[in-house]
Symmetry: C2
DNA sequence: CGGCAAATTGACACATCTCAAAGCCTGTGG
DNA sequence: CCACAGGCTTTGAGATGTGTCAATTTGCCG
């Protein structure tokens, strides 16, 4: 199995891929690397010459403020071309960190440049993937500003449920999601203590279980209602782009 | 003066534009429209066939939750190709609203498609502009999660100061910024009352004045320090992309 | 088995929201 | 030119939400 199969799956969910598109992706020169939990795949203020794509595990974008506090601004699952941004931004404004043990594939920027010169269609699909990241970030902003912690966590779980489905990582109604409460707190913008209390409250509703790093969706519909969840922003529709 | 001069200025700040790039932009078919304060330029859940570019005034992206609350996830100034997203996303996950009286230019998606087929370089610059929007959103997420309201507002003012400078809309140390406190509250994720109190506290520091919709920067350096502001994410550097 | 990070709980402090009222500013119509 | 309406801004008081600190328990990994 190629390191690009998750990516191909994710893109194919948004637009029909030609054989040429597939071939261009599958023949991309790259190197594969593994990272332990907590390792940084890409470091803030660095100037990468390659962009990385998650092929296993869960990664996040993080920044640290000068008082030592941390904020996570995005989570990425297999198939996400996490660091495509760097191809255009050049200088990293954040780090990419492994929230679980994970695996990623690194593609030289020169190859991305070549794709952008040779295949307008694939370029638009790569562009699309960065634009979907932006849509997810806007949804996170709405959650942080206007959802209660209860609703915010619910929204996050609904989102991850669908995103992991795209990657084919949901089995029935369960999926691996071994995210710690400290990491969760840094995503939600809350204290660890409050995350713990909110999860307790949420568990009592029995819309899902979450033990041993594995989530089981018991009542997605009610959870989505509690979260005021509208999946439009995930662009889960296949259409010409 | 063409409706595209702000855009050209913004792009030229990030990479050297060829004569061909300029010509392609300047000859884009388009229509120009004006909007009163409060009008929606693009409506949530619609399926635009054109993308809009702000050429005057300030616009924002907004979403409403089912309880009636509103969150603003981005602000856009002249030169920002606000709705370039829609070219790829197809279905709007938010609205674009005029925070002040404003003017915008609408470009048909067919023309953007043509550019993406004909000019890889300009395509990358358009792509870049959506990726910078994403970087700004990540900075907003960090502000919402981990900055105090005092620091959050300071950060926002530093950001707008630099972004309006790019557009050439800062005169000396002052710029128009006629944003109401209700709108600010919906950006910051706070109540109107708290915004009022925080602004009062901030004014007492004398780092800036803000009367009659006009901001004067008195001590940008101290304000940036209070905000923990690092402009890296705005990509204000000209380099080959 | 031991050690360390994660998760949980309680008590208390503090930040922020809600509600309510008053003052201010601006544009409009008489 | 004035009166008025409506939205914005400010202020106070009290309720609620969330953070901090500290201690305990749990669970995992070496």
């Amino acid at each position: 199995m190629s390191g690009f199969s998750y990516l191909i799956r994710a893109l194919a969910g948004r637009d029909r891929l030609t054989d040429n598109d597939r071939a261009l992706i599958e023949t991309l020169p790259h190197r594969r690397r593994s990272f332990p939990k907590g390792a940084q795949l890409v470091v803030e203020h660095s100037r990468p010459t390659e962009s990385c794509l998650v092929t296993g595990g869960i990664t996040a974008r993080e920044v640290f403020l000068s008082d030592g506090s941390r904020q996570i601004s995005a989570m990425h699952v297999p198939g996400d071309f996490v660091d495509l941004h760097a191809f255009l931004l050049k200088l990293m404004d954040h780090s990419v960190v492994a929230l679980t043990e994970c695996e990623a594939v690194f593609v030289p920027h020169g190859e991305l440049l070549r794709i952008s010169e040779q295949s307008p269609h694939l370029t638009r699909l790569f562009w699309l993937s960065t634009v979907i990241d932006g849509a997810i970030q806007r949804a996170w902003i709405a959650s942080m500003g206007r959802r209660s912690p209860l609703s915010h966590i619910s929204h996050l779980l609904c989102e991850m449920y669908l995103r992991l489905q795209v990657a084919g990582l949901v089995e029935g109604d369960t999926f691996d999601f071994p995210i710690s409460q400290p990491d969760l707190a840094d995503m939600l913008g809350l204290s660890i203590v409050h995350v713990s209390r909110t999860l307790k409250e949420l568990r009592q509703l029995n819309y899902f279980t979450w033990d041993g790093g594995r989530v089981r969706m018991l009542d997605y519909k009610r959870l989505a209602k509690l979260a005021d969840f509208d999946p439009t922003y995930l662009n889960l529709i296949q259409e010409p782009r």
